[in-house]
Amino acid sequence: MQTQHTFLPFLPALTLLALLGPVVGGLYGTLLPAFGHLPAAGLSGPSLDPFRGLLAWPGFLPSVRLSMVTGIGAAFLSLSVVALILAGWSGTRAFRWVERLLSPLLSVPHAAAAFGLAFLIAPSGWVVRLFSPWLTGWERPPDVLILQDPLGLSLIAGLVVKEVPFLLLMSISAMGQVGGAKQLAVAQSLGYGRVAGWLAVVFPAIYVRIRLPVLVVLAWSMSVVDVAVILGPSTPSTLSVQIVRWMSDPDLTFRLQAAAAALVQLGLVIVALLVWTAAEWSLVQLSKRYFHMGRRHARDRVLRGVGAGLAGTVSLALILGLLGLVLWSFAGFWSFPDLLPQQFTLRSWQRHSAGSFDALTETALIAGCVVTLGIVLTLGCLEAEERHNLRLTSKGMWLLYLPLLVPQTAFIPGLQTLLLNFGLETGRGAVILAHLVFVLPYLRLSLQDPWMQWDRRQAVSSAALGASPRRIFWRVRLPMLLAPILTAIAVGVAVSVGQYLPTLLIGGGRVETLTTEAVALASGGDRRAIGVFGLLQTAAALLPFAIALVVPAVIWRNRKGLRHG
């Protein structure tokens, strides 16, 4: 027997535990205080008081409505934009540009993207400056509520800007799998316009493959905290933001109300998922009846133009937003309505050098540990499944997506309560395990396809040369998969860097990363400081992607066969 492999069969179980343990534990930890049981505060249940308190809070219904509308609205808009872009432009020369921009844009952390957008659309932001005073007549920033508007429109915009690149990337990979280009050619040769043909023929096949990511986007939009703190309204805020506020209240009894709200949040997401599924079903029925009539919609120039416009707007919002962060971080005096600061200075960077260095170190330390653990577990799982002939079924896929479907605000507060109840430390170690829950799915999703596409005959011929499975793994498969593994690591780092809620709550407020620091600055409105932290946050997420591009290109510079992956 090969004793060195005996740990391998345990890895899938261990991974499952790391993935689902905190979710289940956290939900349990939410359930108890929601029904009045919180020994740490000297309370024992069961009682319905937390729910009574929640319902008595005057902001309850408005915040529920806000969460539903912004969440479903953002998910629906994002999916529509993605469909329109692909329907009008997939496979064209212009689209290649979009594809190239996609991965870096995707890795921009939520908070940085939200701040960037805020700097663009605020009353004193670039958009207003561009048209002032020559068009608007404004000599000073207008007194209108654009950011944090009560309808949540700027929040929806911020969510859409982040979700479009994600769904686009997922759809492009799905399109390759279903042979979408050829199907579209058939529909076009039958006389259908690009947009109508794509929607009728390619979209249904793609949607089946991106359905889980779409549902993740839906759940995420409804319950996200950092973006909602930056762009969402505050009186009332979304339910998730309110949960976090109650969780940080020094009065421990507010945790009961927070737990009750967390259960309501979970319920809202479940309701939204059901509503979404019903809408899917009706749309299928409607489209069946519609396409039976054979209308060709040959003139779709306007729709294609709209698609191009939306793609441009989303990428510009992200790119100009980041540029805004850069300018503010180096800005000296910058008066309205000047497009650029009067002078550039390093003062903001110097002022925040100590604080930002500590936060950067903490961020890197946590991301490093999380991704190391995560990649060992993920590769271990893939290899174990390979050797024991296991396959990730569609049920397994749901398990993988579960931590992304259950709203963070539904189980992270409970996880904190649970840790407190057991007298366990909140802090860096716990934060690392909490991040792992969200990093593991993305590691697996990034590695799944490259791992499966690897030519198994390489293993067969290596084995025929007398190589052990262990030797094949280390000497053949890993080196050949270097590029996708580094990309997965970069994705994992970006996910860890962007985590706000788990860092804040599981860190007990004592773990200060670039993200928690940046979001904490939101209420103060110090744009220069936000610029510094937002940029560092973006850099921390982007740098690993650059490394993932450069390292394989250098190591395999004389190996043409390994340059495409």
Partner: protein
């Protein structure tokens, strides 16, 4: 009306280049009801030529020359305005639609819901597939799928038909039958046909001119 002598599919000084490399050059005219067969090893650009004619040439290729269909230049028209039908080896029936819905999708618009259903059923009956309208395309045999794909293409009333190795997936006996059906239908509708194939028998059965590319 177009001049009788101009009817058919004409490829005038057609060249497809990839960078500096010329992949295909062709100067040919296919009269209505006739078949032009292109043969040659794979990778020689046969399918690329077909994608140029239907208008889905990938942007990394460059196209020179003109394509005329019934006297009209279609070289720069978007694919859906060309009236050129195509059949692929992988029949590419849309998997989320029933057989009938696939045909209704091809059928030119117009008519009531019931009339359209009737015409779909007629088309199915024409190729011996009565009562197949509600079937899932995935449950059909290769020959049945080929017949449905053919009818879907013809219901859209194309003015030319392209065949991209459409018989390669079929076994020998079926192949002869389907081939005969396709050519009969194309001739009946007086369509110029451009076929790409590996198989000498296909070329022989087509009865038209054969051009060998590359090699």
């Amino acid at each position: 009306m177009a001049d009788q002598s101009k009817l058919g599919l004409r490829l005038e000084g057609l060249e497809i280049c990839h960078g500096d490399r010329r992949l295909v050059a062709l100067n040919h005219e296919i009269a209505p009801g006739e078949v032009l067969t292109l043969m040659g090893p794979s990778g020689v650009g046969k399918s690329t030529l077909l994608s140029a004619v239907i208008g889905t040439l990938s942007p990394e290729f460059r196209l020179l020359g003109e394509i005329f269909l019934n006297g009209q230049i279609i070289t720069n028209l978007p694919p859906h305005q060309r009236n050129v039908g195509i059949l692929f080896q992988e029949t590419l029936l849309f998997p989320h639609m029933s057989v009938g819905a696939n045909l209704a999708f091809g059928l030119a618009s117009g008519g009531t819901r019931a009339e359209r259903r009737e015409r779909v059923n007629l088309a199915l009956a024409k190729v011996g597939l009565e009562g197949f309208a509600d079937r899932d395309p995935a449950t059909l045999s290769g020959g049945q799928r080929a017949r449905v794909a053919l009818m879907r293409t013809l219901l859209a009333k194309p003015q030319a038909l392209l065949l991209d190795e459409p018989f390669s997936g079929l076994d020998a006996a079926l192949r002869t039958k389907i081939r005969k059906l396709v050519f009969e239908q194309a001739r009946a509708q007086n369509l110029p046909v451009l076929m790409v194939t590996h198989d000498g028998e296909d070329a022989a059965a087509a009865g038209g001119e054969v051009i060998t590319l590359g090699g």
